[in-house]
Each structure stands twice: as C-alpha cells, then as structure tokens.
C-alpha cells in the first residue's frame, strides 16, 4: 500500500548514512534510495508473456578533495549503505580533482506523490492483459498485417533522498507506456510502422488513447508506408508536425543545451544572450508539463526542478544544469540531474523539452510551398556536439503547390541545428506532447513536443 509508514523507516536509514558522511568531513554527500516495481506484458503475434521486477538499491555520492566518488548497493541495510559511502569516499579522497564545488541548498523535508487517476496497483493484471489482447485483435484484423509486437510497461517509482544539507525528500510516481509495431506486406512491398503511448496518471492509457483509435492510427501508418515512394534527395522547405518537431527539439537541439555538453564545447557555448534561432522560436525544458514523462518535483540530486528557458524568441537564455554545472556556470540550478537508476550517478538530462506554440493556423504553413515535405513521425535521431543532427523519418508526405500529396518513406532530415532554427519562418498555434526514452550511456524517460512549424530549407536524404 502507498503509505508514509515506510518513509520514516527509509529516512532513518539514510540519516545514518548522512551522519557518517558528516563524521568523515566531506564537502557534500547524498543518498538516493530507490524502489521500483516494474511490470511488462509483451505480445509477439500469438504469444503473450508477463514479466515483473522489483528493483531496489541505494546510491551514494561523495564530494571531497575536488572529486566525486560514487557507489551503490542492492542491500537496504545500515551496514551496506555505510560501506558504500566509505568506498565512494575512499575513491574520491585518493585524488585531488578539479571539479567545482557543487551548489548547496537549504535544509528541507518534503513528501510528494504525483497525482494518479487510477493506480496501476489497483488494476488487476487480467484487465491489462485483456486490453492488450483486444488491441492485438484489432491490429491483426487487416490481411496485410503479417506480424505484430505490442509491449506494455508500467513502473511504480519511489525515490527517497537524503543529503548532508539535511534535505529529506520522498517522491513517488507511476509511469505507464505502450509500444506497438506492425509489419506488413502487399504485392511484394514490405513495410512496418510503430506507435508509442504514455502517461503518468496511472492505468489510464486506454482512456487517454482509446484502443480503437490507437489501432486505427497504427494501421493507417502501415498503409501509408505500403503506398509510399522514395523521395528525391536535396534541400527543400519542410513542415514538421508536432511528433517530428518534438524529436528535432530534443535530439537536434536539446542535447546541445545540456550543461556538461556545453562545457565540452557544444555550439551553444559562449552564445548566452545571443540569437541562435528565428525570433518565432521559444524552446523550454519544463518539469511541470501536465502528464509528461519528465514531470518531476525534485531531480535525482534533491534539487527542486525549475523551468529552463533555453531559447526565448530566438535568444539563448538558460542551459540545463545539475549542481556541479550550476556552480561552474554560476547560475541557479535547474534541477536537470537525473539517473536511470541507483546504479548510476546523475547526469544533466532532459525532462519535457518543448517548443512553445505561435500564432499561425496550421494550414497557413503549407500555403507558400511549391514543392516540399510534410514530416509526421520519426524513428529517432542522433546528434553530434558540432551541431549536426540526423532524424530518421517514418511517416511523411510530399507537399505540392500548398497541398499535401503522396506519401514518401525512409527519408531522413539532417543538417546543422542552429541553421535550421534560423530557417523556421512559421510556428503554428497547436501543441502536442510525446513520450519516449533518452540514452546518454543510461536511459531516462522524457517527453518532447510542440506545434507544427515550417522550415524554409532542410537537407532531405532520399535515393
């Protein structure tokens, strides 16, 4: 049951670690006790399997001598935690490092449970299996569909934090997501399509995205892929739909604004206060977006999360920081320190990275385009620090004389991020949020999104 009884138990346990850290004379130490209950239901064609897991452990970080030591244990006992602390301390103390002192915060006690409409813990597994089987039945109804994969995942996350600043925080939330992919053939043409759904409001996924609508959208994506032709490579005007724009904002731009990458020489270094995009562009990393995968009250460093206004009307303002980098850049910390689990030390990670809507109607964006592309969904992307990005496109259409034309497939959009941002000449007034995971050596759950936008010119790879 979700109660506060165990909270004081964990607080007492972590307090013992804090006491010992103070005794050792460290500049700063923090402890992160995580308990995650995980359930997954996977359906691959006609086979179903159910998995679950109970993941728990304590992470310790120690700052001493200009160095950061880190250790973790899978045992929730005083001895194991103290042992981990001592090992982290010994590692850090052995070398004179040159890390800046992390930003320190005030003492604080807080308990926060992200509101949930219907807990996954209150919904029996049979209901979840039944819903998934129903989705599968709808997907297999089309003769073109030769194979289906559906994966449902739920995580009940409990994080307890304690630090030598006398901060004691507990935060709980539920994270639910579903991934579905279909593979089909028709007259020798092979194609596949996928869809992702997410929520942090409990077992409400199929209220938010009804099963029939989800099946219909996915089958339509497959249909489009089966009909699509290959585009011509070159430079063209492009309209990005919210899903594709979200991936662009996260992948092409977001990483460049992570403080550790800025410190490493990302193209945003030395550009604070300068124009980096068209004045129609405002991009924020927001920890308070309703129902976002990146919606958290405190990050994994016990820092209260705050909005990072990365670009405001084209001008670069904030970067996303953790305690170390906030200190290094002499700014207030934004609360972007996140880790995949207690097994990892937090890094600067994104939360909900979105472009804010503008003033245009969506159909205005298409009007002046004689020939270009309309890009709806993607298969992810990858960025390099020099500001060059690639995003693999799944669903897209030609735009011919202002009208949406035939579908095209398997193109990518690539280019230089800042150049592309300067080329945005229209931002629509709609908005949508999407769900996924981000990798940077360790995975975290994030959201991204925004409105429809028009880019004057982008390099489109085709054949």
């Amino acid at each position: 049951m979700r109660g506060e009884g165990s909270v004081s138990e964990y607080k007492d346990l972590l307090y013992k670690g804090v006491e010992e850290a103070a005794r050792l004379g460290v500049e700063f130490a923090d402890f992160r006790l995580e308990k995650t209950r995980f359930t997954a239901i996977e359906r691959r064609d006609d086979s179903t399997s159910i998995s679950s897991g109970y993941d728990y452990g304590v992470a310790v970080r120690v700052f001493v001598n200009g160095s950061l030591g880190f250790a973790f244990t899978t045992r929730l006992t005083r001895d194991a935690i103290i042992n981990a602390l001592r090992r982290a301390y010994s590692m850090a103390r052995s070398v004179q490092g040159d890390l800046p002192k992390p930003v320190l915060m005030n003492p604080l006690e807080d308990y926060y449970e992200a509101p949930v409409k219907r807990s996954v813990l209150d919904t029996p597994i049979d209901t979840k299996v039944k819903d998934l089987l129903e989705l599968d039945k709808m997907l297999s109804s089309k003769p073109e569909v030769k194979s289906r994969i559906i994966r449902y995942v739920e995580r009940v996350e409990e994080r307890h934090y304690a630090s030598t600043e006398e901060r004691y925080l507990t935060e709980k939330r539920e994270l639910v997501y579903a991934y579905a992919s279909v593979f089909g053939t028709r007259e020798g043409v092979r194609a596949s399509a996928h869809i992702v759904r997410g929520t942090i409001k409990g077992y409400t996924l199929w209220d938010k995205y009804p099963l029939e609508e989800t099946a219909k959208e996915l089958l339509n994506r497959l249909e489009v892929q089966l009909r699509a032709k290959t585009p011509k490579p070159g430079n063209y005007p492009v309209v990005l739909a919210p899903e594709a724009l979200g991936v662009f904002v996260h992948e092409a731009f977001g990483h460049l604004a992570e403080a550790d990458l800025v410190a490493s020489g990302s193209v945003l270094r030395d550009k604070r206060g300068k124009q980096v995009a068209s004045e129609l562009v405002t991009i924020v990393d927001d920890p308070a977006v309703d129902d976002g995968f990146g919606t958290i009250k405190y990050d994994d460093e016990g820092v209260r999360t705050a909005r990072a206004v990365i670009v405001e009307k084209g001008i670069h303002r904030d970067i996303m920081t953790d305690r170390l980098h906030a200190s290094m850049f002499d700014v207030d910390p934004t609360g972007n320190g996140r880790a995949e689990s207690f097994r990892y030390s937090p890094l600067v990670r994104m939360r909900n990275t979105v472009m804010l809507p503008g003033d245009y109607e969506v159909d205005e964006l298409f009007r002046d385009i004689k020939y270009g592309y309309y890009i709806i969904s993607t298969g992810g992307g990858q960025t390099n620090l020099d500001g060059s990005f690639q995003v693999g496109v799944e669903e897209a259409y030609e735009i011919v004389n202002g009208e949406i034309g035939e579908p095209v497939r398997n193109l990518s959009i690539a280019g230089n991020t800042l150049e592309t941002l300067f080329n945005i000449d229209a931002v629509a007034k709609d908005f949508q949020l999407f769900y996924g995971r981000c990798g940077k050596g360790q995975l975290v759950y994030v959201s991204d999104g925004g409105p429809h936008v028009r880019v004057r010119r982008m390099t489109v790879g085709g054949r």
């Binding site: 990858q382 020099d386 497939r409 085709g462």
Partner: protein
C-alpha cells in the same frame, strides 16, 4: 538477516520454490557485476564509481503459460516473493501453444580461454583512475582538443544458470575498457566529436592507441571539402559498417525475426543473397571474445556458427524457444541484457570475415570515407532503407585526405548494397565496439546528399 549464500545455491532454491508453488518448469539466472569505472567529462575527471550489482531472474512455465520475475540482490525473502510473482503471472497469462519447454543440459561445453584474468579481477581503483588521467592528459596534449567524454573501467562478472531439467552452470569472467570522445575546436570551427573505444577480457587496453586514433581522425576534420549531391564510391569504416549492418542484415539473421516472417532473408535461405565477398559469423566461444561465455543466458553451450558464407544465407541465431519453433536446435544465442531481462535471440561475438583489399586499394580514386554515422538505428529493418548523417565523411583523392565534407547525408538500401554494390572488403579487422569484429568495406554508387 539471511546468511550469505552462493548465488548458484540460491538459484537452485528458487527453482525448487517455483515447482513447489505450482510451476511445471522453472529456471533461475543470477548475475553479479563488480568493478570500478572512472568517467571523463568536459576536460576533467568526472566521477569515480564503485560498481556492485547483483540480482536474479526467474522464468517459470505453468503448463504452457509463461511468467518472468526478477529482483535485485539475493535476499531470500525477496527472492521467494519474486518466485511467487513469476508463478502468479504465468497463471494470468494466456497459453503459448508454441512453448516446448526449457533447454536440457548440453552434452558438452566449450573452454574458450582468455575470459578471466586475476590482474583485472584484483586491479585497484587507483590503477583505473591513473589510466583515466593518463588518457585525459594525453588527449589534451594536442592543441585545441576538447575531451567531451569517455572513461575507463574494469569489471568482474559471475553468472549462473540453473533449471528444472538439470542445467547447472557457473561461469566467471573479467572485462576492461577505455574510451574517449573528443573534438577539436579552434577559431570558430568545431569538428565532430570522435569516439574511440577498446576493450579486453584479460588486460587493460592501450590508451596511447585509442587517443592517437581519435586525435588523427579529429585532425582530418580541421580542413573542409565540398562535394555536390550525387553518387559516390563510399568506404565505410568498421564502426558505421557494423551499425548499418546491425539494423538490417543482422536483424534479419535473428531466428525470432525469421520465424515471425519479418526477416528479409526469410525466403532466401541457401541463396546468394549477399555479395560473395561477405561472410558473417557469430561465435559465442571465441577465445578472449568480449561476449564470450561457456554457456548462453539459458545454460546452452555457446558455439561458432556461420550465418552467411560467401554471400549465401546459411543459418539464423536461435535460443531454445525460437529454435524449436523453427524445428532447429538452439545455437546458444539466448542473450539477456542483465538479470532483469528474459532471454531472447541475440548476437554474441559478431564477426565479418576480412577480405583481401589493402588500405591503398580501398582508397583508390575519389572516395568518401565514412568514419562515423548518426542515425544508423533509424534504418528500416524490414526494407533495408537507411538515410544517415555521415559525420565525419572525409573526401579522399588517390589516397590523400582532402577534407571533411560537413552535412553529408548517405542514403540507400543496405540489403541491396551488400548484395550488389560491394567492390572490396578490407584485409584489416578492427573492433569498433566490444564483441564486434569488422573489416572496412568499399561500396560503389552510393547516394550522398550534401548541403551545396
């Protein structure tokens, strides 16, 4: 507090508990991972980490209903609860008519060698740290180099598998790696970040080699070149070659993908579906291989298998479940991503056999050499279509590098190109990632879109 118990003993108990709870079959997999890792970030030592992870994954069948549960640590009560969860989940699951049981013990197991060294197992954290510092200092010796990331690490890994058919296996190994991610930033020009890595099961990798390779590649990018959009002879270095192959060809060589009707090679078994210059091998028993073990994630003996021989598709990789669905034995390719995951068909040590082309032949004429790509994971596994950013792509003329071509987007169809466009396969095998052994490859008539 429960007393300390050997992981294999706990695994045996877990299997017994499962049967007691009503499972008809059960399997337990334990993993312990201990070590030290030092990370580099933004020209400094980042964090100094102590790794100490342990857990158990339990798979059960109640008739033809399957369930899986895992828990971190080896606390008896927690493991007992995990066993109950696994059985409960199996009972809630619809029947899988294709289930034909857990594997039996293999008649024999290989002795690959070079999987464990005491030098690595007892390496002091200070040594790992010294190596990281040496790598950082060496990289920063070159003017204008910025170290973005990287790190060093050593690990000791112990794994066990036991099941209700009598599988009872224990294995241990060591592993170390060193990696660097650096770029050159001078007078407004930023080169792409270049990533180099090396790893070994028995000794610490050569830091000098890693840093030299990365710096040389970054230096190639300090001069620029331009090419118009068009078709080019493209030379893929081992890293990009592997990444593009992984999303397409290797995906289609997975047994589960084949059985589900999604493999591109599904109807081409025994046919010349790739260039005769290409031979692809998976070897879970490779001596000293980064992914070598005596047994796979289900306790089945590992082995070497030829998947593609001189372009002819011969075999797929299987675990027990998918092998039986295809009417074949497991090929010892049940792979788990840690104790938290169920086994499924996966590659162990992936080898593309070298050809006979020397570097001079690979670089003859006017070619674009692709050292890294962005977005290979977005390639379409079903059709082979890809469109990736080559970063960097370097223009070579008669063996001389002429400069970095920024923003070069390389597109095509991997299935078609490994069949029809292969000109040469290089003689030198490199290891761009742990467990991946690849040559260079020269492909003709590849579409490249450029900014100009």
């Amino acid at each position: 507090m429960s007393g300390r118990i050997e992981p294999i003993e706990l695994a045996v108990l877990a299997v017994r508990w499962a049967i007691h709870e009503g499972a008809t079959e059960a399997e337990a997999f334990t993993l312990i991972e201990r070590g030290y890792r030092v990370s580099l970030r933004a020209n400094k030592i980042g964090s100094l980490e102590v790794i100490d992870d342990a857990g158990i994954g339990i798979r059960v069948a109640v008739g033809k209903r399957l369930g899986f549960s895992y828990v971190t640590g080896f606390d008896r009560e927690a493991v007992r609860e995990a066993v109950r969860n696994a059985v409960r989940q199996a009972r809630a699951s619809p029947e899988d008519n294709e289930w034909r049981g857990l594997p039996d013990p293999s008649p024999s197991y290989p002795e690959p060698g070079n999987m464990y060294s005491t030098a690595l197992a007892y390496m002091e954290p200070s040594t790992v740290l010294e190596n990281a510092k040496y790598m950082l200092d060496k990289a920063l010796e070159t003017k204008d180099v910025q170290v973005v990331g990287g790190g060093t690490g050593v690990y000791v890994i112990e794994r066990t598998v036991t099941n209700s058919n009598g599988v009872y296996r224990v294995d241990s190994g060591t592993f170390s790696f060193a990696a660097i991610d650096l770029l050159i930033k001078s007078s407004g020009v930023t080169t792409p970040a270049i990533y180099e890595l090396d790893s070994s099961r028995v000794s610490f990798p050569s830091i000098d080699n890693i840093v030299e390779r990365a710096v040389e590649k970054a230096k190639l990018c300090t001069k620029r070149a331009n090419v118009p959009t068009g078709r080019y002879t493209v030379v893929l270095s081992p890293g990009p070659f592997y990444e593009l192959l992984a999303s397409t060809v290797l995906y289609s060589l997975r047994g589960d993908v084949f059985v589900q009707g999604r493999s591109f090679y599904g109807d081409k078994v025994g046919q010349q579906a790739l260039s005769s210059k290409i031979t692809i091998v998976d070897d879970g028993a490779l001596k000293g291989g980064d992914n070598t073990w005596r047994f796979d994630g289900e306790g089945v003996a590992t082995s070497r298998k030829i998947l593609v021989e001189k372009g002819v598709v011969k075999n797929f990789i299987y675990d027990t479940y998918w092998g039986r669905r295809a009417g074949k034995d497991s090929t010892g390719n049940a792979v788990r991503a840690g104790y938290a995951s169920k086994p499924s068909p996966g590659f162990t040590n992936t080898i593309v056999e070298p050809g006979d082309a020397v570097p001079e032949e690979l670089l003859e004429g006017r070619v674009l050499v692709v050292y890294q790509v962005q977005g290979a994971h977005t390639a379409n596994s079903d059709t082979g279509e890809y469109s990736v950013l080559a970063n960097p792509a370097i223009l070579y003329e008669n063996g001389e590098p002429k400069g970095w071509v920024p923003g070069a987007v390389v597109s095509g169809n991997m299935y078609r190109e490994v069949r029809d466009n292969v000109e040469l396969v290089g003689k030198v095998v490199e290891k761009p990632y742990p467990g991946v052994y690849m040559p260079w490859i020269r492909l003709r008539e590849i579409t490249v879109a450029s900014k100009s």
